[in-house]
């Protein structure tokens, strides 16, 4: 076995992870799930499944039909925000659980 630095891994047993690691992993999955719900809603929801009813509305201040805008512009912008949000939240979680690098 090589040296292990992490407090989490020190207490990890063969049967799985230690409680702290479990909590970190649970929080991580929750963050992912929340962001993936948004991911699904803006693309598959607004851009595909509900595109027809949304197209009856217009994006305020422009002439974009709303569903079309989500499919071609809005979802892409939302994706960018999601990935940065994930990076930000996870860095915070890492520090909170004391598992960030260095």
């Amino acid at each position: 076995m090589e040296t292990r630095e992490s407090t989490i891994q020190d207490v990890a047993s063969d049967s799985g992870e230690a409680p702290l690691a479990r909590a970190y992993w649970r929080a991580n999955r929750l963050v992912m799930l929340g962001l993936l719900v948004v991911w699904f809603a803006v693309s598959f929801g607004c851009g595909i499944l509900f595109v027809k009813p949304l197209n009856r509305l217009q994006m305020p201040g422009t002439d974009f039909p709303m569903g079309f805008w989500f499919a071609q512009i809005g979802s892409v912008l939302a994706f960018v925000v999601l990935v940065f949000a994930y990076a930000g939240i996870m860095n915070r979680l890492d520090r909170h659980f004391g598992v960030s690098e260095e």
Binding site: E2, S6, E17, A71, I73, V80, L82, A87, N91, S100
Partner: protein, 616 residues
């Protein structure tokens, strides 16, 4: 200077830059060659990932596809960018923590199995080879259009450049040339987009002008005194000519859903994109560089639909109903086709068949002639191959419908500057951007091919005793071999290449994404499940595609598709099958050994070392 001279200047300068970077960033160890030493900054990795991912197809074809498909083209936008969300949230940080060299590396060690590694190598090679030949072809097309050299010469030149920096520098050389290539390609894409947006909508931001009123020099003329928005005008032009509305789709919702999901998951599973995340130092750098990469990609991917709509309006306005023959001086008011129309016809990417012999271009839905791309009876210089109005005569079987016009998707981006009447240097800049997009993706793919051979096949499977120096030599030789093979495929594309490039995504979605995801998110997944899953996903997806695209193309329509899903979207079903088979097999067979479970525990937290390999 004319376009050709400017193109020589820009292509020459950019190639010189790539060579300089290649010499500066020579690889000295396998770690340099495989992962650029592992210390790339998130910003550089973000740019490199963006140009790695954005291929000749993104740069040259996508705006054109959007232009012709309207809303239905959205699948490509959402598919490509949405995949980065999956990659950033579900794979990149964990693979970075795992921290090896290749994707098969992860599969081989996580599942503790040489067979699983070999299955992964086969998938990686197949995906990358189909994809790379398309890039080489893109290089050839740009050269032949702008420098008027044969496609073959263009491909060979492109090969020579990639060979130099990929073989010398490996991932290190590729990374820093990709950074330069991103800067070139995004500048080249945005300059004409901004000009066009100003000319058509009076708004310098294409993403906003796209949803605005028709204003500006060209826009006012097209609007004809009416206050009308660009999209409303576009739908109106579509309705006049009998096309479906631009802003709503004509494909079945289930197929749009499946294609989008297949492209997203496929993007997340493309090995040449995944390995880019091995090159940064820390897990948090992987997360950040995924965000930056997507931001850099989004700049192009939100401008593309704007270019698509601008060029569509312009095409319909200037070409539909125009006379082919140049009008005599006495009839100034007659609408004649623009000059670029003939230039592209000479190259064979536009064709017109005067079915009703009225000398006017009737552009309507449906295909003008059968047999796909036009084949002409004589070269453009030969007067014998010209029809009554001077148009080139095609040899294809003429179809019944009212449409007389064929326009290749790929010309929309390349023709944009000409459409907008921009100076020659802008046209040349776009050519250099297209080359940068094609070369950057080709290099990333070649690296996957060479590392799969030198690292996964030789070092980790068949010749474990070779030294680092020998492995590096093998990697360089494999890269050189892969470049030559890619060049050959680019010059002599087997008939099916164009058909299968899109399926690289389906195969990545059905073979790689699930095996990586399950390896991270389920501790219980074992080698039996992984191998069975990969094989099922790959064989099912490949079988469906081969059946509909190669064996029985006549049946390739919604009536015969399973669940109404086209071959482009079938990767989703392959992926679901992969999940079901892998999980079922895994739970019927013994759990993976303790040291493998330890790997899973360790990759889930950023801190700490990943357990060393070969613990058994």
């Amino acid at each position: 200077m004319d376009v050709k001279a400017w193109t020589f200047v820009f292509a020459g300068l950019s190639f010189g830059l790539y060579i300089a970077i290649a010499i500066w960033s020579r690889a000295r160890s396998t770690k340099d060659f495989y992962v650029a030493g592992g210390g790339v900054s998130p910003l550089a990795n973000g740019m490199a990932t963006a140009s790695d991912w954005m291929s000749a197809a993104s740069f040259l074809s996508m705006a054109g596809m959007l232009s012709f498909l309207g809303y239905d083209g959205s699948v490509y936008l959402m598919g490509a960018t949405g995949g980065f969300v999956l990659l950033a949230l579900l794979l990149a940080p964990y693979l970075r923590k795992f921290g090896r060299f290749t994707v098969p590396d992860f599969v081989g060690e996580r599942y503790d199995s040489k067979s699983a590694r070999l299955v992964a190598v086969v998938c990686a090679l197949f995906i990358s080879l189909t994809y790379v030949s398309g890039q080489m072809r893109g290089v050839g097309v740009v050269f032949s259009r702008f420098l008027e050299v044969p496609v073959e010469t263009g491909v060979v030149l492109g090969m020579a450049i990639v060979l130099l920096y990929a073989v010398l520098g490996g991932m290190k050389g590729i990374t820093y040339t990709q950074v330069a290539q991103y800067c070139i390609l995004i500048f080249a894409f945005l300059v004409p987009a901004i000009f066009l947006s100003i000319l058509m909508t009076g708004n310098p931001v294409p993403q906003l002008g796209f949803g605005g009123m028709l204003q500006g020099e060209i826009g006012t003329r097209i609007a004809g005194g009416e206050a009308i928005s660009l999209l409303a005008k576009l739908n109106q032009l579509h309705a006049d000519l009998g096309f479906a509305p631009y802003t709503s789709g004509s494909k079945a919702t289930i197929d749009v859903f499946a294609i989008t999901l297949a492209l997203m998951v496929g993007t997340a599973g493309l090995p040449h994109v995944i390995v880019r995340f091995y090159t940064v130092r820390r897990v948090r750098d992987a997360r950040l560089s995924a965000g930056l990469a997507l931001l850099f990609i989004a700049v192009l991917y939100t401008a593309a639909p704007a270019i698509g709509a601008f060029s569509r309006v312009h095409l319909l306005d200037s070409v539909a109903g125009a006379r082919y023959a140049a009008p005599a001086a006495s009839e100034d008011s007659v609408k004649a086709v623009p000059e670029w129309f003939r230039a592209w016809e000479d190259i064979g990417l536009i064709a017109w068949v005067d079915k009703n012999a009225d000398g006017v271009i009737d552009y309507r839905p449906g295909r003008a002639f059968g047999g796909g791309t036009p084949s002409f009876v004589a070269p453009p210089t030969d007067g014998a191959g010209r029809g009554a109005h001077g148009e080139r005569i095609v040899a294809n079987p003429i179809l019944e419908g009212p449409n007389e016009l064929y326009v290749d998707f790929d010309i929309m981006v390349l023709a944009t500057p000409e459409i907008a009447g921009l100076p020659d240097w802008v046209i040349a800049l776009v050519a250099a951007g297209g080359l940068a997009a094609a070369l950057s993706t080709a290099a990333g793919l070649l690296l996957v091919i060479s590392t799969a051979i030198s690292h996964d096949l030789l070092k980790r499977t068949f010749l474990p005793r070779i030294s680092d120096r020998q492995e590096l030599l093998a990697a360089r030789l494999a890269a050189a071999g892969a470049v030559c093979l890619a060049g050959y495929l680019g010059i002599r594309p087997p008939g099916f290449v164009a058909e299968v490039v899109a399926f690289a995504f389906g195969l990545a979605a059905s073979s790689f994404f699930p095996v990586l995801f399950l390896g991270i998110f389920t501790r219980r997944m074992n080698r039996q499940g992984a191998i069975a899953g990969m094989a099922t996903g790959f064989l099912f997806t490949a079988g469906y595609i081969v059946h509909f695209k190669l064996l029985d193309p006549a049946a390739n329509n919604a009536a015969h598709w399973w669940f109404g899903i086209s071959p482009e979207g079938i990767g989703v079903v392959g992926m679901l099958l992969h999940f079901v088979v892998a999980l079922t097999v895994a739970y019927l067979t013994p759990p993976p050994p303790a040291h493998v479970q330890e790997i899973v525990t360790s990759i889930r937290v950023p801190r700490g070392a990943t357990p060393a390999r070969h613990r058994h």
